[in-house]
């Protein structure tokens, strides 16, 4: 890369505030054509905000942005398009009932007739140039997540994007799909485009990028050449202090059978079968990981155990209490399960939509599981308040007050409140769905540590995860779901990432 040329993008003193907080503070950096730049930072470090200013979603409160040397005021995504900037968001912005071509043409202003045939030809041309696989006439609802992402990228290129921003593009992809994406990105670099990818995953940064720009707490730290970086050096830049990269896996001697899930079948509200003949055992004193592409029945499986998802006849969910008594949880509501004296904790994926009441403070949220205890009409608030204080102190939750609405807290602190509450009820079974999603490294490690503590206490921990490295390091066994079926249960100590990736994408014949 030639640093003498004019940068494709220059940020000069760019600042953005939300309320009293600086999301970006005085960011100054250059990004060049023909390079892949990884934008790295912990959660809340301001990566997405910075890129949103480049793509016209936010407008900076201070500072200037130059595109190819010219000062630019990017007021809307449309302005960004005109400047040749395209952003691929984590949540795709596609119309389900339209074809790929129709989605590409949607919202393009200008002269000329609506000509889908010509557009489709252009799309095929773009695909051939960069190595995409895309059928222009396919409807979006028929597409896989990876195909939708491809369509978003093609859409941006069709509109003449020279600068392409991808926000955590691999979060929704299998390892094989991610490899494919990377080879396409390399082709784009070869064509002289600027590619910016926002990511948490260090291995990806190292394998794909030319340079890495690091943000920390809204501020710009440094840009380094990838060739001279290592996972450890990047982590240090990112978090500002040395962090232990190893996740512990303490061994527990006495595993006890706690939960038996047998032949569970379930349908969602649209009538699609989401779980097919799912069977597994969970033991106290182990962490059972559940891997799978998102939407393969993970959510429904946990909700079925928690009593929130209806299961079909012939299914069986058995619980062995520590005294050896066996009880069926089938058809029981969460309240009934609680009344049976079974302490089942569940950290759902949707933290503020399901697990926590966003408008209430920590105290109010502690009450969510215990408010109905006792016969009094008045809800007890003293014990929840003490619990809230205890969790705040022990888990170092950063909050102005335990009465501050939890939705105002950062993602990591929100999760600490949720996990803290679920652990506080001394569960026998602890189920977590994407417990570290969106969390920074420090907060993630706090959660891993808490889960390990629970495991050592003899709790049966079920950990639905998406990062395979974490699953491999943390769990004892890993159950792989594929299309709502169990496609294998493997020993985490003896398996490989590739094997799990394969199980995630290829349903074994005997299971099909």
């Amino acid at each position: 890369m030639n640093t003498n040329m004019t940068p494709a993008v220059t940020f000069r003193g760019v600042t953005k505030t939300f309320g009293d907080n600086y999301a970006n503070k005085d960011i100054t950096m250059d990004i060049y054509s023909g390079e892949i730049l990884a934008l790295l930072g912990e959660n809340g470090s301001g990566k997405t905000t910075l890129m949103n200013m480049l793509s016209g979603i936010y407008y900076p409160d201070g500072g200037e942005i130059f595109i190819r040397g010219k000062k630019a005021a990017i007021r809307s995504p449309h302005d960004a398009h005109e400047l040749g900037i395209g952003m691929i968001h984590q949540h795709f912005k596609l119309v389900d009932v339209f074809t790929a071509t129709e989605n590409v043409l949607l919202g393009i202003r200008g002269e000329g007739k609506y000509n889908p045939a010509a557009a489709a030809a252009r799309i095929r041309e773009i695909c051939a140039t960069y190595g995409f696989e895309l059928d222009p006439s396919q409807k979006v609802y028929d597409m896989t997540v990876s195909q939708k992402q491809t369509l978003e990228i093609v859409k941006a290129l069709y509109r003449g994007a020279e600068i392409l921003i991808l926000d955590e593009p691999t979060a929704v992809l299998t390892p094989q799909e991610a490899d494919k994406l990377f080879s396409v990105l390399r082709n784009m670099r070869a064509e002289g485009k600027t590619v910016i990818i926002i990511t948490h995953k260090l291995q990806e940064v190292l394998s794909i990028s030319d340079r890495v720009a690091i943000l920390r707490k809204g501020g710009y730290i440094d840009t380094v050449d990838t060739s001279s970086a290592t996972e450890l050096s990047l982590t240090e830049l990112m978090v500002g202090k040395k962090v232990e990269l190893e996740i512990e896996r303490p061994s527990v001697k006495d595993r006890v059978l706690r939960l038996q899930v047998q032949h569970v079948n379930a349908f969602n509200s649209e009538g699609t079968q989401v779980l097919t003949d799912v069977s597994f055992d969970a033991y106290g004193g182990e962490i059972l990981g559940i891997a799978g592409i998102s939407g393969c029945g993970q959510k429904e499986l946990l909700e079925a155990v928690a009593g929130l998802q209806k299961v079909e006849e012939g299914s069986e969910i058995l619980y062995d209490d520590p005294k050896g008594k066996r009880e069926s949880l089938l058809g029981k509501s969460p309240k009934q399960i609680k009344r049976m004296g079974i302490s089942l904790s569940f950290v759902p994926e949707d933290r503020l939509g399901m697990g926590l009441v966003g408008s209430m403070g920590m105290t109010g949220n502690m009450m969510l599981k215990s408010y109905s205890d006792g016969r009094s009409l008045i809800a007890e608030t003293k014990a929840p308040k003490e619990l809230a204080e205890k969790i705040r102190d022990e888990l170092e939750v950063v909050t102005p007050s335990i009465n501050t609405p939890v939705r105002r807290l950062s993602g990591g602190n929100i999760q600490k409140v949720l996990v803290g509450r679920e652990i506080a009820s001394s569960p026998a079974v602890l189920m977590t769905a994407y417990a570290v999603r969106g969390l920074d490294i420090n907060a993630s490690y706090t959660i891993y540590h808490l889960l390990n503590q629970q495991k050592q206490k003899g709790v049966a921990v079920i950990f639905v995860g998406e990062d395979l490295d974490v699953l491999l390091a943390l769990c004892d066994r890993i159950l792989v779901l594929c299309g709502g079926r169990v496609n294998g249960i493997v020993d985490a100590k003896e398996t490989t990432k590739e094997q799990i990736g394969y199980l995630m994408t290829n349903l074994k014949e005997e299971n099909a």
């Binding site: 005021a73 007021r75 759902p348 949707d350 408010y371 009409l377 008045i378």
Partner: protein, 380 residues
């Protein structure tokens, strides 16, 4: 290049959410909005009828608080509005769009009137008990029906509660016409015997004073309901359940709350209090029934409930403010009606007031960031 520059200017302003405005500053905004509304209305009135602001506002004040009878009229109306807003608060806190308060009050008042029309022979205590129970049941049914169909079939509660209003109105009209017979109007029920009136509770020969004032007891009962509702929402388990259901149904299921049960229970409560309000109005205020019983407050109360963020004590203040504006501008229309200041002009004034007060909430939650003066950069 310069072409591009002049075309792409920064927007004039953009909107930024602010997180925590100090309480004092927030009240500064509210009071500022109120003062601005006063100024705006002064200009409006001057343009319409050439009345100077001082005369104008002293007329407004007089209309609301100018004499003992004006004060009572204002307080009574504010209490009625407050009572309905309090009744609506649990439903709205649960995010159940109950716009059927008008009908729930009407049907409750109808039930009370029915009892006092037909069962004049009952002993006073029994009569009142039957009136109260009948009005609560009637209002409760009006609350239950939309909740039932919401819970069972996910029927849209907004349309359902709205339609229930018209049923209530027609039921009232039916009895009104039936009881009226060939007279021109129904008139006061039990005018001579005062059966079913608050006034029948105390003996006629008691001295005058607050203790024998129907309006006083009307207001007291409503203040008690307001206080009870405040604690119900704030302290009880059921109040907690309402907050959780209002936040998200999924979350409620997760917490082991039966969403349908809470919806049914809360709407029956909301309807029952509206029905009880109907009883209060019939028994202590109107002493008769007509489809104008709730005087449109079933809808105004929705504004009161939201503006007060479901704090029932705040509702008392907001109700008083709205009613005082109403009464004040009514006197304005009365005094200057000949010069063209009609009751519609009075409505415009009240509307402008509310718009500015509600608008101030926007500026409390958001701020506008204006484009900085950077002409030199533009020119470069």
């Amino acid at each position: 290049m310069s072409n591009q520059m002049t075309k792409k200017r920064e927007p004039l302003f953009h909107i930024v959410r602010r997180d925590n405005m100090p309480m004092l500053a927030a009240w500064g905004y509210r009071i500022g909005a109120f003062v601005l509304a006063l100024l705006l209305n002064a200009v409006f009135v001057w343009c319409m009828v050439r009345v100077d602001p001082i005369t104008f506002y002293s007329t407004m004040w007089e209309g609301a608080f100018g004499s003992e009878s004006y004060i009572w009229a204002t307080l009574k109306a504010a209490a009625k509005l407050l009572c309905i807003a309090v009744a609506l608060s649990p439903a709205f806190k649960m995010r159940f769009w109950n716009i059927g308060a008008e009908g729930q009050v009407l049907i409750g008042g109808m039930a009370a009137a029915f009892v006092m029309y037909h069962y004049t022979a009952l002993p006073t205590v029994v009569l009142f008990l039957v009136m109260i129970i009948a009005s609560i049941i009637a209002g409760g049914i009006w609350g239950f029906l939309p909740a039932f169909f919401k819970a069972k079939m996910n029927a849209n509660e907004t349309l359902f509660t709205l339609m229930m209003n018209y049923i209530a109105m027609n039921v009232v009209d039916y009895f009104y016409d039936k009881w009226r017979g060939f007279r021109s109007a129904l008139g006061i029920l039990n005018q001579n015997t005062k059966i079913g009136w608050f006034a029948s509770i105390w003996k006629d020969n008691d001295t005058d004073g607050l203790m024998t004032n129907e309006d006083f007891w009307f207001i007291v009962v409503i203040l008690v309901i307001m206080t009870l509702m405040f604690f119900y929402l704030k302290l009880t388990k059921q109040g907690y359940e309402i907050s959780v259901v209002g936040e998200s149904h999924n979350m409620a299921r997760y917490a082991g709350i039966s969403v349908n049960k809470v919806i049914l229970r809360t709407m029956i409560l909301s309807g029952a209090i509206c029905g009880f309000c109907g009883f209060l109005v019939v028994s202590s205020q109107s002493h008769t029934i007509s489809s104008g019983l709730a005087s449109g407050y079933g809808f105004t109360a929705i504004i009161v409930a939201w503006l007060s963020k479901f704090n029932t004590f705040t509702m008392a203040g907001v109700s008083l403010l709205i009613v005082a504006l109403e009464k004040g501008s009514a006197l304005m229309a009365n005094t200057y009606g000949m010069r063209g200041f009609s009751s519609s002009a009075a409505d415009v004034m009240v509307g402008a007031m509310l718009l500015l007060i509600i608008g101030s909430e926007f500026f409390i939650n958001y701020k506008l960031m204006f484009r900085k003066k950077d002409k030199e950069v533009q020119a470069a």
